[in-house]
Symmetry: C2
Subunit: 148 residues, 2 copies
DNA sequence: GTTATTGTAACAAGAGGGGTTACAATAACA
DNA sequence: TGTTATTGTAACCCCTCTTGTTACAATAAC
């Protein structure tokens, strides 16, 4: 069980858009060469991000751009756009606990709240980080490493 | 991407041990009838929990029991026992970002800390819940629903 | 020695991740 | 209008993981 690389690739995409907008046309091929992942994979991801209203993609002429301010897009938005959790739930529950057993009968009502509690903790942390934070960190890092 | 049902099944196992210890012998068949999952799956899970030092399993004569106090086993212990994260990392990073691109070069150093931050938030929440909490909730639930 | 049980091996089906080729639809431009 | 670059998708592929299943040797108790 691991979050798929779609998540980090999506953030990489946003960083590229921000860094190279105006300078280059952000096509799936351009992104592919920075991320080093197949352009079709990139296009599918662009589709998911577009559907979530986070970016705009121009068909035919080509090119992706942000649909919102970087400070208004959180890592949770990105996560939810590219990582489809079945029923929105992070934890897969075993389907048929035996209702004739006291434990089987109570396991769902007892655990459901706890699992939500854990999921919310993760989501809250993701929500506290915006793409602006990532962009700032990137700039800082590039400054530090360039003039050394 | 979903946490596998091994996690909730493992917690179900602990609840059964606690509820029926002394009264019944907790075999994989017994657990199977409460959880309604194949006994071999249960045995593999019991193996993982045993290896993590959370339970003891008697070979031949049969039966599982707790190896620690319920208050000393957290949901994080259970999670780590049954859910092997590759390299201990919750997030799978795309392998080969292009080092010749400023974004490709910086994405790892910039993101790694953030991803850890999110993972730690989830782990911290898991660590705050012990099996004792679950057992208490179960008892409360069964009391409430029985005399109504 | 018989019995119940665990620990494992071996296999299978299904889902999902990641990759690839191919091509129709679209938009810009010569 | 024809050409070109690009997106959006379909149709595959292979691999891993999850879950389920049968079978059986090893073990422990009686």
């Amino acid at each position: 069980m691991q979050v798929s690389s779609r998540f980090t690739i999506a953030i990489h995409i946003f960083s590229c858009i921000k860094t190279f907008e105006g300078e280059y046309k952000i096509t799936s091929d351009f992104l592919s060469s920075s991320i080093q992942v197949n352009p079709v994979i990139i296009r599918k991801l662009l589709g998911q991000l577009k559907e979530a209203g986070l970016i705009e993609v121009k068909r035919g002429s080509g090119g992706a751009s942000l649909a919102k301010e970087p400070g208004e897009i959180t890592l949770l938005d990105v996560f939810n756009a590219v990582e489809s959790l079945d029923g929105g739930k992070l934890f897969h529950f075993h389907e048929n606990p035996n209702p004739d057993c006291p434990v089987g009968r109570s396991i769902h009502p007892v655990l459901d709240g706890r699992l939500e509690q854990i999921q919310r903790a993760m989501e809250k942390e993701m929500q506290s980080i915006t793409l602006e934070d990532i962009f700032n960190d990137t700039n800082k890092y590039l400054e530090q490493t360039s003039h050394s």
